[in-house]
């Protein structure tokens, strides 16, 4: 047990030493660079750049195994992000919308245009305070009144919007002709081509969309046994869904990789200065 404590102490010393070293080198580096903004700012910016780099490495250390440095960085992140959202929300919506409608003295103090006293704005104020009562386990049940307003608004807004744009519009988007600028069988084969903007590609595309949507809906249809024609249609449906998942898979891999490229660019360029 003792020597593992000693190893972690050594690691800690090495980390702090490299941190100070990197800070000093970065400070000189910034001081020497053409657009330096004075000694104090170089030291401060060098400190911040090094902090950001060490926090990045602390999170990457999770890849080796869960360790105290990762826990430090992760706990710091949880604390900072909670406070960040609180502050921006406070200034933008509480001061920006609530205060101008309930008190003129506060409005002048915060320099926001006073809109006159609107009693209806006390409804969200009271419900908001009630929501905070959830923190006390004894009188927590009253917080459900505020939760009710949130659930009511979300449901009321979602019901019509999803029905209109995700159901009705998607159905009308699928009213597509299965024979694109059709001039008869002769012309269709006479200038037949596989070019991506050709008539064949467009027609095939419309067929795939129609069959894909129709069979996809059959796959998610639960009121009829998937046997016979219905069974084959639902199997075609699952094949189309598999292509859809394949596409999402490809895009997700692309997305995750570019996040890593972004972080490594920071480390190589802003911190180590290996690339311009």
């Amino acid at each position: 047990m003792a020597n593992s404590k000693r190893i972690s102490a050594i690691i800690l010393i090495i980390v702090i030493a490299t941190f100070l070293l990197s800070w000093i080198i970065k400070a000189f580096n910034l001081e020497g660079s053409p657009n330096n903004t004075g000694l104090w700012f170089s030291i401060r910016d060098a400190f911040f750049i090094t902090i950001a780099a060490f926090l990045t490495l602390a999170i990457f250390s999770f890849l080796y195994k869960d360790n105290p440095y990762y826990k430090f960085a992760e706990h710091l992140f949880v604390g900072i992000s909670a406070a960040y959202w609180m502050c921006v929300g406070f200034w933008s919506t509480l001061i920006g919308n609530l205060v101008p409608n309930i008190s003129s003295s506060l409005s002048t103090f915060f320099r926001v245009p006073y809109k006159g006293l609107h009693f209806t704005y006390f409804v969200p104020l009271i419900l908001g305070i009630i929501l905070l009562m959830r923190l006390s386990s004894k009188r927590g049940w009253i917080s459900r009144w505020a939760l009710a307003w949130i659930v009511g608004t979300t449901s009321g807004l979602n019901l019509i919007r999803y029905l209109r744009t995700d159901f009705i519009s998607q159905v009308s988007n699928t009213f597509i002709p299965l024979l694109v600028d059709w001039k008869g069988v002769g012309p269709f084969f006479s200038h037949f081509s596989l070019s991506s903007t050709g008539q064949f590609a467009m027609t095939l595309s419309n067929w795939v969309i129609f069959i894909g949507v129709f069979c996809g809906l059959i796959y998610f249809f639960f009121s009829k046994e998937h046997k016979g024609i219905f069974g084959t249609a639902s199997r075609v449906g699952i094949w189309v869904l598999m292509i859809t998942f394949g596409a999402s898979f490809g895009y997700t891999v692309m997305g995750r990789v570019s996040l890593l490229v972004g972080r490594l660019t920071y480390l190589f360029r802003d911190w180590l200065g290996l690339i311009s």
Partner: protein, 225 residues
């Protein structure tokens, strides 16, 4: 009493917001109810912060596992909160943008919040790679179709696809990998996503209806015990 009042609030708010679409005079009410929802949403941020403080102070008080790191969470939280609420180092006056350049709030965002958040998610690139090597198998027909489609997209979404199949003449240009990737996205993917979207839309309509009419109450029953 404990259940009746919330159910009526949900019913009234839900119905007013639905009517505000169909009856223009009710639209003003719809705007106000949405605005009140936005203000309550900020109190929900405060609830999140309060919860965080409660959990971590409790962990420190009871010396639970990793209680030392809870101090870091609380410290980070308080420093950021002070920087934001008092607009420390903020060039402007009290009504200035909380994230104005040069303010401590913006510095902490740029140099701590941003690297931590970005790096946390960039870990996934490593996990995607290791999962690709160890877990993604063409075990059955469905998984095979999935992996083939993924290949076309992965190749088509990078210049590699163009170099590999750039030579194919225009009259067969559908077979060029980048065009094939575009076709996969705008036909089968579009059809599959649309079928899923219609399914989810009907699910949202049904669930919203159950919540407004009070048939669905699990969000209420959560903390009775």
């Amino acid at each position: 009493m404990k259940k009746q009042v919330p159910l009526t609030i949900t019913f009234i708010v839900g119905v007013v917001l639905i009517l505000s679409v169909f009856f223009p005079p009710v639209e003003t009410w719809g705007e106000d109810f949405s605005l009140f929802f936005d203000i309550i949403a900020v109190f929900a941020f405060f609830l999140g912060g309060g919860n965080l403080i409660r959990v971590h102070t409790e962990r420190i008080a009871k010396k639970k596992k990793d209680w030392g790191f809870s101090i870091i969470t609380i410290l980070g939280f308080l420093i950021m909160l002070a920087a934001g609420l008092f607009k420390l180092w903020n060039p402007g006056d009290i009504s200035a943008d909380v994230a104005a350049t040069g303010s401590l709030f913006q510095l902490l965002y740029d140099w701590m919040f941003n690297p931590l958040g970005a790096t946390m998610y960039s870990l996934l690139a490593f996990y995607v790679a290791s999962a690709s090597y160890r877990a993604f198998r063409a075990k059955n027909r469905d998984a095979t179709i999935l992996l083939i489609a993924a290949f076309i997209i992965l190749l088509g979404r990078t210049p590699l696809g163009m170099y590999a199949t750039g030579w194919i003449p225009e009259s067969f240009s559908v077979l060029q990998i980048p065009n094939l990737a575009i076709w996969v996205m705008t036909s089968p993917n579009l059809a599959g996503q649309r079928a899923i979207m219609i399914g989810i839309a009907l699910g949202v309509v049904a669930m919203s209806l159950r919540l407004i009419l009070g048939v669905e109450r699990t969000y209420l029953g959560m903390d009775i015990d």
